[in-house]
Amino acid sequence: MGVKLSAEIQTALSDPKTVKIVAGVDAQGGPHAAFKDSLRLRKDGNLEYDEIIESSDANKSMVASIWFDRTVAVVLLTKDHRSFLIKGKAVRAIISGQEFRERYTAVREKLGDVDLSTVWVIEPFFEREDTLEKRRIEEEKAHPLLRHVDRLVQVDRLAQQDKIS
């Protein structure tokens, strides 16, 4: 079941300066990640991107996702260094028809004499801001035992101990 992406993520997706990465696994379980500048939000709330290379590892990962119901990850890094993680499933490979034609034409207008293999549609089911500072605060609140003790110790108490000994 899909989730509606937050306004922050929608803004990040629409900004051409945002770095966008799609990652998946191939049929043998091998990971693969690639920059996908064309990643964007669809009117139906799903994500889509233009896959240029038919025989690419990225394309094979997406086929594996739609065939075997495997999760793909999308990572966004904004120009002000905030990052977001989205998890989803490939739900449609658009390879022909009017919608494909529109993207084919748009891609060629933007990139020149290139081909278009597939417009991949990803249905998101999970999202989270992954910016380090935000995640660090969340982590320490949720998992207070998962830290090194030297960070917790009171330095002045250690100094007193040193004097006694």
């Binding site: 191939d26 049929a27 038919e54 094979k60 086929v63 594996a64 739609i66 065939w67 075997f68 739900v91 449609r92 490979a93 658009i94 390879i95 022909s96 028809g97 009017q98 494909f100 034609r101 993207r103 084919y104 034409t105 060629r108 278009l116 597939t118």
Partner: protein, 412 residues
């Protein structure tokens, strides 16, 4: 094999096959079963057909229709499902295409199976050639391929008992008022119009019936294709373009003529069944004129002309189990057919399987297709062989013919 009305109790179901073969795409398994069993359309599914947007008319050597039902289907992952032609006299119950929760869905026994889409119509389809011929009658369209059937009859059907037993070319021809041979000018003009459409076509494909005549055996067929291909090649400045010809097995000299004078890039001569004795029974005309070993030899020579990966051969998978002369068990049929496919692959020739749709009008119309599991094992076997011998799937991948479950598996 005798048709059993209780077939559901005797075979693994679709969902059982999907569960048993977790490494095989469930989309390809569904496609295979739908092609094996056929489809019917509910009234609500038919109401979703827009004749301005979807392909409903088609003229080909195997299939001719003008009603308002969709020609065929496409799946969410881009897999093509063929639904062309009326099935024979002993079919399993077809899938029902219905509308469920607003989506067009394949259903079986009232359960939704998978969403499908109707094929969209290309720009050229409703236009006419300068001769006044409707272009859809000259070149038919698959989602990404232009399909040309220049000769819609076959010389093997002119002689008694020489036609291939699974074939409906003669029955289709006699059921429709249409010319056997298309005008070359119509074909070239229609292709010229069709290739203007951006992002539509990845292959120009030709096939048709055998023409035995000429100075040398089959020269008439070669001449006909050469004239068409030379006309089309002018659009590509004479360079090779993504294209495929399925013809009778030509001699190397004839193939060299086609390769050297046209932009044709890949070649197929369908051997139909991977067994010498069954070839004689099922394809008597081909067996008499060329022979099983002769057919293979011509395929080997074709690789020398077109190069490895650019030659393959199709089989009507399942006919090897036709009775009374076919294999008696699916295990025997699989072992024998895959061994022969491997022999061909060792010469650089991939075997591609078509799901045997037992069609009305064929001599085999009362035969019974194998189980779904058989098709899955066969497709998996052909895919493994192709990978083992490093034979490219490009010339016949899922975007082109779309009728081969084994090449669909080559996507990952």
């Amino acid at each position: 094999m005798v048709f059993d009305r209780n077939w559901r109790e005797k075979e693994l179901s679709l969902f059982q096959v999907i569960e048993k073969y977790p490494d095989v795409s469930p989309f390809v398994i569904i496609k295979t079963d739908v092609q094996r069993r056929g489809v019917a359309y509910s009234e609500s599914a038919l109401r979703r057909v827009d004749p301005k947007r979807h392909i409903t008319q088609i003229r080909s050597d195997y299939f001719d229709k003008e009603d308002l039902s969709p020609v065929s289907l496409l799946m969410r992952d881009g897999t093509t499902i063929f639904c062309e032609g009326a099935l024979g006299d002993a079919p399993r119950e077809p899938y029902l295409v219905d509308v469920v929760d607003g989506k067009i869905m394949l259903t079986d026994e009232g359960k939704a199976v998978e969403e499908v889409f109707y094929w969209e119509k290309p720009d050229y389809y409703d236009k006419r050639t300068s001769n006044g011929t409707p272009m859809w009658q000259v070149v038919s369209a698959r989602p990404q391929r232009l399909t040309i059937h220049p000769n819609q009859f076959c010389d093997f059907w002119k002689d008694p008992k020489q036609g291939c037993k699974f074939c409906v070319m003669a029955a289709t021809y006699h059921s429709v008022q249409k010319p056997a041979m298309l005008a070359v000018s119509d074909i070239v003009e229609t292709v010229g119009e069709a290739v203007k459409e951006p992002g539509r076509n990845v292959c120009i494909f030709l096939t048709g019936g055998t023409l035995k005549g000429g100075i040398n055996f089959l020269d008439d067929e070669v001449d006909f294709y050469q004239e068409i291909l030379e006309g089309i090649s002018r659009y590509f400045d004479g360079k090779k373009f993504p294209s495929q010809l399925i013809s009778t097995a030509f001699s190397q000299e004839q193939l060299r003529r086609l390769y050297d004078n046209t932009g044709l890039a890949s070649y197929t001569a369908d051997i139909e069944v991977l067994d010498k004795e069954l070839f004689k029974w099922i394809c008597p005309g081909k067996a008499k004129e060329i022979g099983y070993e002769g057919w293979k030899e011509r395929l080997f020579r074709a690789v020398e002309v077109f190069g490895p990966g650019n030659v393959n051969t199709g089989v009507v998978s399942g006919v090897e189990l036709a009775q009374p002369h076919g294999f008696k068990t699916e295990n025997e049929a699989l072992a024998s057919s895959l061994a022969e496919a491997e022999t061909l692959a060792s010469h650089g020739i991939a075997v591609v399987g078509c799901v045997w749709r037992i069609l009305k009008g064929s001599i085999f119309s009362r035969q019974v297709a194998p189980t779904l599991e058989y098709y899955v094992r066969f497709a998996q076997g052909l895919d493994r062989i192709r990978r083992k011998y490093g034979i490219s799937v490009d010339m016949d991948n899922y975007r082109r013919c779309g009728n081969h479950p084994d090449t669909d598996l080559g996507r990952i």
